[in-house]
C-alpha cells in the first residue's frame, strides 16, 4: 500500500544563517528512513509519465521501487544503466520542470521527490557500493571526446562501457568542465565530481588535461594523425555576453563566468588561494538563471549584501525553484522589472552604482514569455561596488575556426542532426552547450548519450 501523504519529505538543509557564511553543501541528503518513506509515495503507475520527462530516460519507478524495499544498491544499478552521473544530476537537475513535473502525485499534492531519491541512491552507492569496475572487453576502436563537462563525460562513459578506447581532452587543468568551474561547491561538492571522474577512469577512459583542441591539437589532427575514428565535441559554452551599456568594463564588473571561475575553479574563497577576487560589500547580479543564482550565492558567502536584478518578474525567472528559494533564505534581495542602463563609477574608476530602468510586462515575445517594456521616465539608482553580469554565453570560436567544413549557426553554435548529434563533418559529433548555447547539465548529458549511440552505430556499420 503506497504512502498517500500529500507532501513530500523535506530535504534536510544547513541553516540559512550558518550556510551563508560557508561553502559547504546546503542540502544534506535524505536519511535511509526518509528515502524509504518518500519512495513509498510512488504509485508505480502504469504509464510512467516521469520517464518521458527525463532527458536520459532513467527507469524512475523501477529504481524507486527498489528504494522502497531498502535495496539501495539495486536501485543504483537501475539508474546507472541510463545515467553516468547520478550523484551530479540528483543535485543539479531542474527536476520540477522534468520528471517531477510529470508525476501523477503532483496533480493533487506534491510530486514524488525523484531528484532527492536519485541523490540518495547515488550517495549511498558511493559510500557503500562495489568499487571494482566491471571488466570490459576492448573493441579496438578509438574515439576522442573534446571537453570533460557533462556531455563529454556521458559520451565517454557510454562508449567506454561498449569497449571503445576513449580519450577525453580538457583545456583546463582539472576535468569536470562546468561542474568544476561553474557550479559552486555548496551546490555540488567537487569531491563528488572527482569521484564520478575516477569511476570513468576505472572504465578505462583516459583524460588529458591542459590540451586545447583547436589550438594544441586540431580536430583534423585527432582524426588524421592520432587515429581517432570519431570525435565528439562537448566543449561547452564560450564567451560571456554583456549588455553593451556604458560602464561595463569598469573595475569591479565581472562576467558570471569569471566570478565563478575565480571562486570555484581557483578556490578564491579559501584564505590560501593565490587567485584574487573582489569581495564586494554591495553586489548586484544581473540575470535570473541558475548561473545568476550561483554567482549571487557565492558573493553572499564572500560577505556581500546581494541584489539580483532581473528585467521580468519572479514568475519568469529561469533558475531552478530550489536555488531561488535558497537564495532568498540566504538574504539575497530580488529587484524584478528592473534593467540596468549604465554602470556608474567613483573617481578611481571603480563601480559605484547602477542606473536602472523600471520595466513592465507587455505582450508575449517569440519565446512565449511576456516581453519587458520600459516605463518611460521611471529610473532608479542602486548604489553598488561590484556588478556581475550573468546574461548567458555565446559559443567558443576555437574549434569552429580551426575545423574546416564544420558548419555553425550564425550565432556560432555547431549545427547537428538532433537524433544523432552528427555534424557536417564526417565522423565528428557534437552536443551540449557547444550546440545549444547555455542550457542544463542533464540536456548536455542527453546529447552526449545520443552521440555515443550514434558513434557506436557509425563505427560498427563501417
Amino acid at each position: 500500500m503506497p504512502n498517500m501523504r500529500m507532501d513530500r519529505n523535506p530535504m534536510p538543509v544547513q541553516d540559512a544563517d550558518i550556510r551563508r557564511c560557508n561553502f559547504d553543501e546546503v542540502a544534506l541528503g535524505y536519511t535511509e528512513a526518509q528515502a524509504i518513506d518518500e519512495a513509498q509515495r510512488c504509485l508505480n503507475c502504469k504509464h510512467k509519465p516521469c520517464i518521458a520527462g527525463c532527458p536520459v530516460k532513467i527507469h524512475i519507478p523501477e529504481f524507486i521501487a527498489e528504494v522502497a524495499q531498502g535495496n539501495f544498491e539495486a536501485a543504483y544499478q537501475i539508474i546507472s544503466r541510463d545515467s553516468a552521473l547520478p550523484a551530479v544530476c540528483g543535485r543539479v537537475c531542474p527536476q520540477e520542470s522534468q520528471c517531477e513535473k510529470m508525476c501523477v502525485r503532483g496533480i493533487k499534492g506534491e510530486s514524488v521527490a525523484i531528484g532527492r531519491l536519485e541523490r540518495f541512491v547515488a550517495d549511498y552507492h558511493n559510500a557503500h557500493g562495489e568499487k571494482a569496475a566491471p571488466a570490459i572487453e576492448k573493441n579496438g576502436h578509438k574515439v576522442a571526446v573534446v571537453g570533460s563537462g557533462p556531455s563529454g563525460l556521458t559520451c565517454a562513459g557510454d562508449l567506454a562501457r561498449k569497449g571503445y578506447e576513449v580519450t577525453v581532452f580538457e583545456a583546463l587543468h582539472v576535468a569536470g568542465g562546468v561542474l568544476v568551474y561553474g557550479i559552486p561547491q555548496f551546490r555540488l561538492p567537487k569531491e563528488i565530481v572527482r569521484r564520478e571522474i575516477e569511476q570513468l577512469k576505472a572504465l578505462g577512459v583516459k583524460i588529458e588535461t591542459n590540451v586545447i583542441i583547436g589550438r594544441t591539437i586540431t580536430v583534423d589532427e585527432l582524426m588524421e594523425e592520432y587515429g581517432f575514428e570519431a570525435v565528439f565535441i562537448g566543449s561547452g559554452a564560450g564567451l560571456p555576453k554583456f549588455m553593451n551599456i556604458p560602464g561595463e568594463n569598469l573595475k569591479g564588473v565581472y562576467s558570471a563566468n569569471e566570478f565563478l571561475t575565480r571562486t570555484n575553479l581557483m578556490k578564491a574563497y579559501l584564505p590560501d588561494s593565490t587567485t584574487p577576487i573582489r569581495k564586494g560589500k554591495q553586489v548586484a547580479v544581473v540575470g535570473g538563471g541558475n548561473v545568476a543564482m550561483d554567482a549571487a550565492r557565492c558573493a553572499r558567502r564572500l560577505g556581500a549584501e546581494v541584489t539580483v536584478i532581473y528585467r521580468r518578474t519572479e514568475a519568469e525567472l529561469p533558475a531552478r525553484l530550489e536555488e531561488i528559494e535558497h537564495a532568498k533564505e540566504e538574504g539575497i534581495v530580488f529587484k524584478f522589472l528592473t534593467n540596468p542602463l549604465e554602470i556608474l563609477s567613483d573617481d578611481e574608476g571603480w563601480v559605484s552604482a547602477a542606473r536602472c530602468q523600471k520595466m513592465a510586462l507587455g505582450e508575449p515575445d517569440a519565446s512565449g514569455r511576456r516581453r519587458p517594456v520600459a516605463i518611460e521616465g521611471a529610473e532608479e539608482i542602486i548604489p553598488l561596488d561590484t556588478v556581475i553580469m550573468a546574461l548567458g554565453t555565446s559559443p567558443n570560436p576555437l574549434i569552429s575556426d580551426t575545423t574546416k567544413g564544420l558548419d555553425t549557426q550564425r550565432c556560432g553554435g555547431i549545427i547537428v542532426e538532433e537524433e544523432t548529434g552528427k555534424t557536417s563533418r564526417e565522423g565528428v559529433y557534437a552536443g551540449g552547450d557547444a550546440v545549444t548555447g547555455a542550457a542544463t547539465v542533464i540536456l548536455a548529458m542527453g546529447a552526449g548519450k545520443t552521440a555515443a549511440a550514434a558513434i557506436d552505430e557509425m563505427i560498427q556499420t563501417k
Binding site: I212, R215, G236, N249, K251, T261, P397
Partner: protein
Amino acid sequence: MNRILDRQVLCPAVTLLKVDAPLVAKKAEPGQFIILRADENGERIPLTVADFDREEGSVTVIFQVVGATTEKLNHLMPGDYLQDFAGPLGRMTQTEGLEKVCVVGGGVGCAIAYPVTKKFFRQGTHVDAVIGFRNKELAILEDAFAQNSTRLFPMSDDGSFGEKGFVTDALKKLLESGETYDEVIVIGPLPMMKAVCALTKEYGIKTVASMNPVMIDGTGMCGGCRLTVGGQTKFACVDGPEFDGHLIDFDEAIARNAQYKEFERHAYESTCNLFREVK
C-alpha cells in the same frame, strides 16, 4: 607536469625558462601565449611565447618578477617541474606580405618582441628594432636583437644603454627623418604602447599592439581579458592578443590591469617573506 630544461637570469628582475612541452612547441608561433601554473594551488598566468624549438619540443618563456606567482617561478631550477603548461593560445602575429616594419619593445616586453622580430628578419622583411629599458642593468636580449634585425636602436631612460631617451624618441626621429613602415608592432608596458600608438597615428602608420590583460582560463570562457577596441568589446585570449593600436582604449586597459594591485602586493610580500624564512 612540465620539466624545466634551462633557466637563465637575463637581468636582476627578468628570468628565462625553457620548458619541455612538445605539444605546445609543435604549434607555437610568435605572438601566441601559454597559460601556466607554478604549483598545485597556484594561479593561472598567461606568458607570451618567447621562443620555441619544435625538434627539441621546448618552449621558452621570459618573465619579470612582479608578484607572488612570478616570485615562485623565479625559484624553480632546471629539473624542477611546472604544474601546468597549456597552449599555444591566442592568434599569431601576422607577418605575411609586410616588406618594411618597425618592432618597438619596452622592458620585459622585448622578450615578446624578439620572436616577432626574428620571424620578420628570417622571412626577409626589413625590420628595424627599437628596444628600450630603464637602464643598462635591466637591458635584455641585446645580442639576439642585433643578430635578427636589419637595424637596432637601443634606448634607455638614463643613457646607460644605447641612446638616452624613450622608445618614442627613437621612433619619432626615424619617422621625422622620412622613414616609412608598412606596420609598427609595439610590445611593452601599457603607457608606453599608448604613447607609441599616439605617435604613429600622427603619421598614419598602421600599428599593432600586443595586449597582456589579466586572464584566468585563456581559452575564451571567463571574459576577464576583455578590452574595448574601436568601441567594441574584444577578448584578448581568442580575438587577440594583438589589436589595432589606434583603436584600443588604453586608459580602460590601464585601469583594468590595476584591479588586483592591492591583493598582488600583499601576496607578493607574503611570498617573499616565506622564501626568506625558508632560507
